[in-house]
Symmetry: C2
């Protein structure tokens, strides 16, 4: 278990999106996020108090969570001074990056010397099976996106919150480091060996009560050439009964892929549904989740209304307006 509360390390984040991990913790477990630590040039801001290590420790923080991701997920040499000092001053460190804290000899040595823990939440701790494709009891909902980082995790967490408030049976199923840091369990899917990806999702969403919903955190996009294989494993391993389409309308190209246009919501709907029905012929697209953070309230309302009319599906921004309408749609199937 990771000791709370956290000091969120934002490092030298090149943009706000790269601090997705910190943002997720702040939004869904605000009681864990008592401050942020930013280095020179940091372009992300959680609107939390900027704290020194000493201040944060004094305020009760016991774990420094690396809340920023480089492309490729490496531990930057520029961060090392802060990380080593954090260990010396009594913090554990938790990270979801590809490169492991435990493999950095200086950090491992400092942690050992001071009796601190290095939590690499990305490392799979389970030997997952090969997917069997056998139909499971209970229901599953998967968020699929036109692109990476369009709000799939937020959508699932927001729906889970509404469903619990309504007394419905639901479980948020984390498939990425942020989700795992938030909930304390899950499958670090992008670190799973290729052959076991779909099996890991079957393992994560086992047989359940007929009226129980797993809300599976999506990853990547079927249209993102770097990560589409990961998404495909979710679509087939998750056997979703329901899909939520996720979109960010202001993006002019796929994240990290200049020259690649985002697909339309229609293309996502048709492609995802066709593929999902291989594993679950009853799968339906039930709603659309739009990330309107870069739009005014008026623009967002207009976009959502137009999308709803065009697609014939409820379209909401769960972060802005809550996920009530998406849960209504889920409850209706």
């Amino acid at each position: 278990m990771i000791e709370t509360p956290y000091l969120l390390f934002l490092g030298d984040a090149p943009d706000a999106l790269s601090a997705k991990v910190a943002q997720g913790i702040k939004d869904w477990r605000p009681e864990f996020a008592i401050g942020q630590y930013r280095m020179e040039g940091c372009k992300a801001d959680m609107k939390l108090p900027d704290m020194t290590l000493a201040d944060a420790y004094e305020a009760g923080a016991r774990t420094l969570v690396i809340g920023v991701a480089n492309r490729g997920g490496v531990i930057s040499e520029r961060w090392k001074d802060v990380l080593n000092r954090a260990l010396e001053q009594g913090f554990d460190i938790a990270s979801g990056l590809h490169n492991l804290l435990r493999d950095e000899h200086d950090l491992a040595e400092t942690a050992r010397r001071h009796g601190r823990k290095l939590h690499d939440v990305r490392v799979p701790s389970v030997q997952y099976p090969i997917a069997s494709g056998v139909k499971r009891t209970g229901k599953r909902c998967l968020a699929v996106g036109t692109d990476c980082s369009v709000g799939k995790m937020y959508t699932a967490l927001a729906m889970d919150k509404v469903m619990r408030a309504r007394g419905m049976k639901s479980t948020f199923r984390a498939t990425g480091q942020t989700g795992i840091l938030i909930t304390g369990e899950g499958v670090p899917l992008d670190a799973v060996i290729a052959d076991f990806m779909a099996g890991s999702i079957e393992w994560l969403t086992p047989d359940n009560d007929p009226d129980h919903w797993d809300l599976i955190e999506g990853q990547g996009s079927l249209f993102h050439v770097s990560y589409s294989g990961v998404t495909m494993a979710l679509v087939h391993g998750g056997q979703p009964d329901a899909l939520i389409l996720c979109h960010e309308p202001t993006r002019d190209h796929m994240r990290g892929l200049p020259g690649y246009e985002l697909p339309s919501l229609e293309a996502l709907r048709d492609t995802a549904l066709q593929l999902a029905r291989v594993a679950n012929p009853a799968c339906q697209v039930v709603g659309i989740s739009v990330n309107t953070q870069h739009m005014s309230a008026q623009e967002a309302d207009a976009y959502l209304a137009a999308t709803e009319a065009r697609m014939g599906l409820p379209a909401v921004d769960p972060f802005r307006h809550g996920a009530e309408l998406l849960v209504d749609a889920l409850a209706a199937i």
Copy 2:
């Protein structure tokens, strides 16, 4: 480098398909395959001389290649006695299984004591990049299947053979253990970490001469729920200019997935092409490769003629009739 020639270990193979590795070596590097070793209950047969370890060593074999795959790729305890004796009698062992020879303490100890090598060709030896999606020079052809184990590797190897004979520039690009055992290099794709799958295929098929073809070995199937994510990474990482559809017409369900029907060739064509065009809008489906091993010559001819007429594409069984027509189709684009 793996020392040749080989004794092919078939163990207690439950069926012929599970000995795909041995069959591939025998078909494409017959000069390496001087004999087979079968245990009681073995259901596979390479039509090679059955040899004892002593006979095979006497005949020149220096490596015992594990030519059989269990579901999940584990090293069976039932094989251990033979494997240990092989090491004692002077053989190296080569394996493409998920579970590694080097992790079996008894084998590692026996190998150490006798100065023999354990080759785990499945283990990635490269830290692959995240896929960039950047367009590469040269041309690429990918074999995609309606199911697993329908002849995708055979198709690519057969085309490569024809192209070399014609003086065309081509390279077979191995993505699985058999291909790697045959060619001595490649990417063990199903053992690659999820996030790096597409990047490993970009790495495997780099910039090349404008008239050079990479013939990329396919894996899994977009319609096989256990492995579809791996296939997706090939479709997007490979940026294929040309797709060959591969099919085995006599199978009544997807391999290992009772209750899952095979898709039609039309469904495979449409789905694969639509997904491939995300990475390469110029991609075309150029031909169909049919594995007719379970059909009579007459049945095969009738099936191929009907398929060719229905799909408007050349349809051949490259193992039975050679890959000339598929190469003609490739040369025409």
